[in-house]
């Protein structure tokens, strides 16, 4: 009885969180925008900034894809089944570190114009994603053709003529996904001293009490992102059938190259971090940061942890419901594509008239769930498809309902995945700056915003101190991601 109660209570809480963080804010944003009418200051579309943002996002995408090729080669040579969990973990883990910190670090070692640095930071941060996707595709579809082509050509032409004709869909889908992300990103351009459309959007949302202003301003970028995602989905759905028989005897051919991807990762992560640490006395900086912002750090950690747990609880609950999970995933994908400023505006529209939420840290937790709810749903679905499928079938045969089997077998058997998800989302929340700039309360001074403040005021000591603490905060999630990917 108590197990039933816990199961239904857990699911109910998850659904309530979904409604509170996704459904209600969306409704409130649209209705408030309709009620408000035209804002006093009409919105003028900054065409030049938009074009520049598109150009930068395109540059970042291209650079990330190029940088991903060595990593993809490693993954391809190792093969999906033989891919060392630690290598996969090492590829994934740096994505959890706050990208802003990379930008600050590269700023100290890469003295180039902001546009180039922005493209470089995006590429060096995001390349593991296409590396894994392309590498797996390469291993399953084009490895033999590539190796045959290598007999008569060097690697680049061998890739172009042997692999690309088969993998172009994966390349295009990855490119579109990255483009969508870069176009909506606020932090890296900001840290590189650039004004992009996401910056303008945040300013529009900050400077107007009317959500309509943010909604109208978000339409071009949201449309571009949605189009990119739609194209990516269409391209992905048309990929050819996979012949996995190709994946049998690959480990022996991996050789030294298995360490190429981790080496690239170490350079991409290590150089900016060393650059950051080299610029000021680290111990003194961290000590001053802790001395000055101890309370803020503790509170930020607490709220971010609450955001991580709530997000994963929501995702796990939705993934348990058979009829709802794919709908939730679809919703999550659309929601993930929306700019952070728009999400912040929607949460404020939803809770502005509810002081018990609006005035307290709870609204920040809701804001975090709204921002990263899609990650929670992906984690929930991963948990459903992870270990325990045999037990799941046994439970169904023994008479358990679909929901009960999902909740008690699949989720219970995948607690490490859920814990990893919660840590990852907490790390993302800790470094989230765009939504947080709108959804904030006096009692919580998020360290991500303090970091931006220090960047603007050239307070290098505290900037380095907070950056290192953010990396430290992301470390448990990164380590656990490695552990889980090994399983």
């Amino acid at each position: 009885m108590s197990a039933h109660l816990a199961q239904y209570a857990g699911i109910a809480v998850g659904v309530v969180i979904f409604v509170a963080a996704a459904v209600w804010p969306a409704i409130a944003l649209v209705t408030q925008a309709l009620v408000d009418g035209q804002p006093a200051t009409p919105y003028s579309f900054p065409q030049g900034i938009f074009l520049r943002s598109v150009f930068l996002a395109f540059g970042g995408t291209l650079a990330a894809l190029l940088l991903a090729m060595p990593g993809a080669l490693v993954v391809a040579r190792l093969g999906r089944r033989r891919l060392d969990g630690w290598i996969a973990g090492m590829l994934i883990a740096p994505l959890i570190f706050p990208v802003m910190v990379y930008a600050f670090g590269w700023d100290r070692v890469l003295k180039v114009p902001g546009e180039l640095r922005c493209v470089w930071v995006w590429a060096t941060w995001a390349w593991p994603v296409p590396a894994l996707v392309l590498g797996w595709g390469w291993a399953r579809l084009g490895r033999r053709r590539y190796e045959a082509a290598l007999l008569s050509a060097s690697p680049p032409p061998a890739f172009l003529h042997g692999v690309f004709p088969i993998l172009w869909r994966q390349v295009l889908a990855c490119g579109l996904l990255l483009f969508a992300f870069f176009l909506g990103d606020y932090t890296v351009p900001h840290a590189c001293g650039l004004i992009v459309y996401a910056t303008e959007l945040l300013l529009a949302a900050e400077s107007s009490p009317h959500p309509r202003a943010a909604l109208v301003a978000a339409l071009p970028v949201a449309a571009a992102i949605a189009l990119s995602l739609l194209l990516a989905l269409m391209v992905w759905r048309e990929r050819p059938e996979i012949d996995e028989s190709d994946d049998a005897d690959l480990a022996a051919s991996a050789g030294w190259s298995r360490w190429l991807a981790p080496l690239l990762t170490a350079i991409c992560v290590g150089v900016p971090l060393v650059g950051l640490m080299h610029s000021v006395p680290v111990t003194a900086s961290v000590a001053e940061t802790l001395d000055t912002y101890c309370r803020e750090i503790v509170v930020s950690l607490g709220v971010a942890a609450a955001g991580g747990v709530a997000t994963v609880l929501m995702g796990a609950a939705l993934a348990t419901l058979p009829g709802v999970r794919w709908l939730a995933l679809g919703w999550a994908l659309v929601w993930a594509a929306l700019p952070g400023a728009l999400i912040g505006s929607s949460v404020i529209s939803a809770y502005l008239r509810i002081p018990s939420v609006y005035d307290h840290w709870l609204i920040m937790v809701i804001g975090y769930v709204a921002r990263f709810g899609w990650v929670g749903i992906v984690v929930g679905l991963l948990a459903q498809t992870g270990v325990g499928r045999a037990q799941l079938k046994s439970a169904r045969i023994d008479g358990a309902g679909a929901v009960a089997a999902s909740w008690r077998v699949a989720l219970a058997g995948n607690l490490p995945t859920l814990a990893c998800g919660a840590l990852v989302v907490s790390a993302l929340c800790l470094s989230e700056a765009c939504t947080t700039a709108l959804v904030r309360v006096p009692e919580v001074n998020p360290i991500a915003l303090i970091l931006i403040e220090k960047f603007h005021r050239f307070e290098d000591e505290i900037l380095v101190g907070i950056s290192l603490l953010l990396v430290l905060g992301a470390l448990p999630g990164a380590v656990l991601a490695g552990v889980v990917s090994r399983r």
Partner: protein, 314 residues
């Protein structure tokens, strides 16, 4: 930020604000405080329209008591002493960043520390540009992120700046560089972001050494007369003092961005009292960036993250 919308939600409070603001305007009529903490008025709400703010961060008051506020949209707005909007104008450029310092001189000049363009722009009180001086750099006659301006009784202009060039420089009445007055190490710590300066009636210079969480006191030749403050939250301690203004009794009031409060000191640096704490309601402050005492004796506080200016009867 949208936080000030809360004011609209609390009808009773909003009426009290309007009533209080209106009463301030009646000659000889002392308005009732809006809060027990002594707030007698408030103006501003989020937005880009007249009388609206988006993250206001500096304020100054002219001899007639009119209040000038600059915000993150790089607009300077002028208000009557009771907070009624009068006129607004924008800085010529704003892409690189927005000003953080204003100073209204008694002769009708408004000095704007155009921080991210490394210059000072001089306007009249209606927004007509009169002059500009300074250029980017670390040398004489150059600025790195100027933060504030003050003028002494002889008409010499003082400008504070930071970002590796943390110092206070003196300029002639016709905007020519004269000398560096304050720079380097004082009492064991180098100047770290002098965010505000003030020259008092006795012609001494006060400097808010923000990142060292302290106040420095100099004569106009740059000789250190005193210093106080250390990082902390208790009375007497400071946390990111962003603005200062002299009080009628020769003391100093300090606007603490980090502690969300105003703190009064006597001339020797002894804390007299504090006012304000973190929050959104009237009488509470959220990241206050600037404060100044008007000729009417009232204290005007830039309540930055609440997008408003609170008027306090000290």
């Amino acid at each position: 930020m949208m936080d000030c919308n809360r004011l609209n939600l609390r009808g009773d409070l909003f009426v009290r604000i309007l009533t209080g603001a209106a009463l301030i305007g009646l000659a000889g009529c002392e308005p009732p405080p809006l809060t027990e903490s002594g707030v007698v008025g408030v103006f501003g709400r989020p937005g880009l329209g007249p009388g609206e703010f988006t993250y206001p961060r500096a304020l100054t008051i002219d001899a007639q008591g009119r209040v000038y506020v600059v915000d993150k949209s790089a607009r300077i707005q002028r208000f009557s002493p009771d907070g009624e909007f009068q006129v607004a104008w924008s800085l010529p450029e704003k892409q690189a960043g927005k000003p953080v310092g204003l100073y209204a001189h008694t002769d009708g000049r408004l000095f704007v520390a155009d921080t991210h363009y490394h210059r000072v722009i001089v306007y009249d009180f209606d927004g007509v540009e009169l002059a500009r001086f300074g250029e980017p750099g670390n040398g004489d006659g150059q600025f790195q992120l100027p933060t504030d301006v003050a003028v002494d009784a002889r008409g010499s202009i003082y400008v504070s700046e930071y970002n590796g060039n943390d110092r206070v420089t003196r300029w002639s009445q016709d905007y020519k560089f004269v000398q560096t007055v304050v720079s380097g190490e004082y009492a064991g710590a180098s100047l770290r972001r002098p965010s505000a300066i003030d020259i008092d009636a006795e012609q001494t210079l006060w400097v808010a050494d923000a990142c060292n969480h302290r106040i420095l006191h100099f004569d106009l030749e740059g000789r250190l007369l005193g210093k106080w403050g250390a990082m902390g939250r208790e009375a007497g301690a400071l946390r990111y003092p962003y603005d200062i203004d002299g009080t009628s009794d020769g003391g100093l009031l300090v606007c603490e961005f980090g502690n969300n409060r105003i703190q009064w000191f006597d001339r020797a640096g002894k804390s007299q009292r504090t006012w304000g704490f973190l929050g959104r309601r009237l009488g509470e402050l959220w990241a206050p960036w600037g404060a100044a005492i008007g000729p009417n004796g009232r204290l005007y506080i830039v309540d930055s993250l609440n997008d408003r200016v609170q008027i306090l009867k000290p």
